[in-house]
């Protein structure tokens, strides 16, 4: 394709995008049309010479999630050309799927607004502040202290702040207030502050949600969204706009406000497209191109075309908005980055081989990362880590995956592999879930027995979903001083006496991952786990065992006339059931004896909850999922978010942000946005 052809194609694409959604018809179109071609240069690919490029941009960003989109806008604001490549069909990454609980602080604008008891500029917020002014009275020094506090130990006896990278944390703390303002300037609206997210410190309240107001029209500039787009019009539908149904935000804003990652990701995407950031979707970043393998600048990337295709229609999925999209379908291309590459393609939670570095049992591919249907097979695939290691990058926080309580956990949503979302039919990727699952809550675990891949119980069921609290404001019971009484850097926070008192971890998840009679060399996979129950349980609970909650087609829900039939069905039809549940009949018979005796000599369940026989046909099985959620081990970066090599030096032209980066034990968006803000700032300033 010649440059002329490419330009023509881009223009056609721009027109198509403008026609697709009303949003861009008014206001944005003029500025975008001017920006769409500005700065970007598509280079002819006919030449086979080594240093020819298929595309050239000033800044190339791998990944269009919270760090990538923030970096893209920030760099574009500085006047440079920006290309974002993303393996998925749409932008937003996990941010789009998130709860939008965005913990920053250090005296940021929202903390100050709530301290003053003010509303937002548009007057949407009609409820008073949730937190007292003293709980919001924050500064950068206190934030930095909090996120590097050596003394904090959580209820799992882990230290979430002690091992954080200090230079990076200092930069993060200093950039929290400007990042908050930056997000607000790009159409993000924040609710009242309410608490702090895990890893965001114990001293002050620092986290609001992002919101939009329900209205007649979805209009990012006006801050409104239709009930249909928000997914609140029908409890069993989500929309292409919002993969997760938005939640009521009345408590934090006022009537008709809704919140979640849609109110963060879509405004940022809108702004990025409006400002002329270019996007190449269905395009998996594969490798970095450096002048020499371990020397010189990073000058570009290679990226492969991996389209996400609807399994039934065979059609390629298309992003909700298309303005700025480059429809490039060649199998592999080289993209030059004149100033810098920013790695923002996520962590390794979806890559069993990489995550097994941290916990060998999690090499089990039966257990996915959260939001796997939305993200697709390339989501959280460790692409940034793999590519950067090849050119000499260093790593950080390798132990920190094990020091956050929700890095991996057992979901209370049963009957679906994609067990950490409430996506419903209506979103284009629901087909990859097949079922929404049944959220039985913690209490629901008393209704069944949980068995491993050979049909044996392995733990007290009611303790399986329990998770120790994250150590964050106002304390969650994991620090002796709660709320404003908390004292940072105090030895009493980690005295042996206090740790004994606060320790609260059940290890049920580890029992679920244990080897069993069906675990075979060389990987000794633990295999899937199952909730087994009978018709009486359905009548006790009212669980709705119907589509879209369960599907009899996807292998995560089974119903049978006998226990033996149930075992046979699971063995025949579940994709990760490698061995028969040979002990299931005996397990149920034994369990029914325990129920009659009122005692469970194996796991002492009678101490926690009542027990029920599994006797009345039909019988049911729902999959129980272990979900690997976050990535905390990753690339080592300095305070400018430059990737550091094994000699301790920055790799010229290479930046990173979000879950690709290690050494910051903070769950959630606050890490990614600020790191993207810093990376975008400095990448644009490269010579």
């Amino acid at each position: 394709m010649t440059k002329k052809d490419k330009d023509k194609h881009l223009e056609a694409e721009r027109k198509k995008a403008l026609n697709r959604r009303d949003f861009f018809k008014a206001g944005a179109a003029a500025s975008v049309s001017a920006a769409a071609l500005g700065g970007s240069v598509a280079v002819a690919a006919e030449s086979a010479a080594e240093e020819t490029w298929d595309y050239e941009y000033d800044v190339v960003i791998c990944g269009g999630g919270c760090a990538g989109l923030t970096a893209a806008i920030r760099a574009r604001d500085a006047g440079v050309s920006v290309l974002v490549v993303d393996q998925n069909y749409d932008l937003g990454g996990r941010m789009l799927h998130s709860g939008s609980y965005l913990s920053l602080g250090g005296g940021d604008a929202i903390q100050k607004r709530d301290m003053a008891g003010e509303s937002d500029p548009e007057g949407f917020i009609t409820v008073p502040p949730v937190e007292d002014p003293a709980e919001l009275d924050d500064n950068v020094e206190l934030l930095f202290t909090d996120v590097t506090d050596w003394s904090i130990v959580d209820p799992k006896a882990q230290s979430p702040y002690r091992y954080n990278e200090r230079e990076m944390m200092r930069a993060w703390a200093e950039n929290c207030p400007p990042t908050r303002e930056f997000l607000m300037q790009n159409y993000v609206r924040f609710t009242r502050v309410s608490g702090t997210h895990g890893g965001g410190g114990l001293s002050r309240a620092r986290a609001p949600y992002c919101f939009l107001m329900l209205g007649d029209k979805t209009d990012i500039k006006a801050g409104t969204i239709t009930p249909e787009d928000a997914g609140v019009a029908d409890p069993e539908r989500t929309s292409p706009f919002a993969p997760v149904q938005m939640e009521d935000a009345t408590q934090f804003v006022g009537p008709n406000a809704v919140r979640n990652g849609v109110a963060l990701a879509r405004p940022l995407e809108f702004s990025a497209r409006e400002k002329g950031v270019k996007f190449m979707l269905h395009r998996a970043f594969v490798d970095l191109i450096r002048e020499e393998q371990f020397e010189g600048r990073v000058i570009g990337i290679t990226a492969e075309y991996r389209p996400r295709v609807h399994p039934k229609s065979g059609e390629r999925l298309e992003s909700f908005w298309q303005l700025g999209n480059i429809d490039e379908r060649r199998p592999k291309i080289r993209i030059r980055a004149r100033k810098a590459v920013i790695l923002a393609s996520g962590g390794h939670a979806g890559n069993p081989q990489v995550r097994s570095m941290f916990y060998p049992a999690m090499r089990e591919p039966a257990f996915p990362t959260s939001g796997s249907a939305l993200q697709g097979p390339g989501g959280q695939d460790a692409s940034a880590l793999k590519a950067a290691l090849k050119i000499g990058a260093n790593m950080a926080g390798m132990q920190q995956n094990l020091s956050y309580p929700t890095t991996y956990h057992i979901s209370t949503t049963l009957g679906t592999r994609d067990a950490y979302t409430n996506m419903m039919p209506g979103h284009p990727t629901f087909v990859f879930r097949g079922s929404a699952g049944v959220n039985v809550g913690n209490a629901g675990f008393e209704e069944f027995i949980a068995v491993n891949q050979v049909g044996k119980r392995f733990f007290n069921e009611v303790r399986l979903p329990k998770r120790p609290a994250a150590n964050r404001y106002p304390g969650d019971g994991a620090a002796p001083g709660r709320g404003l009484d908390h004292k940072p850097l105090d030895w009493r926070n980690c005295s042996a006496e206090w740790i004994r008192q606060s320790y609260n971890y059940d290890h049920g998840l580890d029992a679920a991952l244990a080897m069993n009679e069906g675990s075979r060399a060389p990987n000794y996979y633990s295999g899937p786990i199952w909730a087994i129950f009978d018709q009486d349980a359905v009548e006790r609970t009212g669980w709705e065992l119907r589509f879209p909650y369960v599907s009899e087609e996807n292998g995560y829900f089974f119903k049978a006339e006998s226990i033996e039939d149930l075992a046979a069905q699971i063995y025949a039809r579940h994709p990760f059931q490698r061995v028969p549940l040979g002990y299931l009949s005996q397990t149920v018979e034994t369990w029914n004896g325990y129920v009659a005796a009122g005692a469970d000599p194996e796991f002492e369940r009678e101490k926690d909850a009542p027990m029920y026989a599994i006797a009345k046909p039909p019988f049911y099985a729902l999959s129980i999922m272990v979900i690997w959620h976050d990535s905390y081990g990753g690339l080592r970066c300095n305070g400018r978010m430059q990737v550091i090599d094994m000699e301790g030096k920055p790799i010229p032209g290479l930046y990173a942000g979000g879950e690709a980066v290690g050494g910051f034990n903070k769950h959630g968006l606050g890490k990614g946005h600020v790191q993207g803000f810093i990376a975008g700032t400095h990448a644009a300033q490269e010579g």
Binding site: S370, A443, E446, R467, E561, G593, A597, G598, P618, H667
Partner: protein, 309 residues
């Protein structure tokens, strides 16, 4: 007398074993093919397994040689449903080596019988008549209509012999059942009885006998009433439809959050549970009519927003 010895050239050959030796119908069957060669050879290829009908049953690649182990190919698959011994074959597909097709035996056990027993009350008062429903089914698809069973007590004395009926349990296709009324044991306490499902003599396909233990809690006549009032810890509102378990007695709270359980005097643990609350638990001696307030604390789930920011 001298015996003439003759050297016979032995070429590569496949030796296949099936594990377990007798496999349950439709359970896991592991076929291991071993390529025996006169000298160590590096052979790449696949072993193709064929069932008794000559249909391909699966294929597996030869593993890399790990001296001194022989080359092997291992296939895990579901065993067939038909009982008896069958002759299967395996063939090597390789550019490096030729050998004859190997025969081996797969032996399938008789069909099992699924026994399901339900409707037994969790607490059975001494001397009363109580219900029990027994269902029989062949997991391999044979029709269990009219199949026989025996009911034995803890001393293995027959209490009842019977047959399941002609109709499947409502909502099922092949679970044939019968409803029994039985006399409760006279002795208070836990009783373990056994259902023995008998192999049907008239069935063309052999079936194995199956035993299932059932458990009875035989109690004295109730003497006192325990009244439970379930309330929300924060709002003090009644909690209806909560499950009440005072082992072995069970009940539900009504729309006023109240349940009444009649029971003999004694020591009990009371559980009251209902989503989304933590299970309420209280233990103690009940010697007279009493009221227990179950204060229910919400087991608040983390929302997606809280977990997923």
């Amino acid at each position: 007398m001298e015996t003439e010895t003759q050297e016979v050239e032995v070429g590569p050959r496949l030796v296949v074993t099936a594990s377990p030796e007798t496999v349950e119908p439709q359970s896991e069957l592991i076929l291991t093919a071993r390529l025996e060669t006169p000298e160590p050879m590096d052979v790449k290829g696949e072993v193709v397994f064929y069932d008794a009908n000559g249909e391909e049953a699966g294929r597996a690649s030869l593993s890399d040689r790990l001296d001194p182990e022989p080359l092997t190919a291992r296939l895990e698959r579901m065993a067939p449903a038909e009982p008896g011994s069958q002759t299967w074959t395996a063939r090597l597909e390789s550019d490096d080596c030729e050998c004859e097709e190997a025969e081996f035996t797969v032996t399938i056990a008789p069909h099992p019988i699924s026994v399901t027993v339900w409707d037994i009350p969790p607490a059975i008062e001494q001397g009363i008549t109580f219900p029990m429903t027994i269902g029989l089914k062949c997991p391999c698809g044979c029709e269990a209509k009219g199949w026989s069973f025996r009911l034995l007590d803890g001393e293995e004395q027959e209490i009842r012999a019977g047959k399941v009926g002609e109709e499947p349990w409502p909502g099922t296709i092949a679970l044939f059942y019968t409803c029994l009324d039985l006399d409760a044991p006279a002795v208070e306490g836990h009783h373990e009885w056994t259902i023995v499902a008998l192999p049907p003599e008239e069935a063309e396909i052999p079936h194995g006998e199956r035993k299932l233990k059932v458990h009875l809690n035989v109690t004295r006549a109730p003497e006192v009433t325990l009244r439970i009032e379930a309330v929300d810890a924060v709002t003090n509102a009644p909690v209806p439809k909560a499950k009440v378990v005072v082992h072995p007695y069970r009940g539900w709270t009504n729309e006023h959050g109240v349940a009444e359980v009649r029971l003999p005097k004694g020591a009990y643990t009371v559980f009251v549970s209902r989503s989304p609350y933590f299970a309420f638990k209280s233990s103690g001696e009940i010697t007279e009519d009493m009221t227990l307030q179950a204060v229910m604390h919400e087991d608040r789930e983390y929302s997606a927003a809280e977990m997923w920011a």
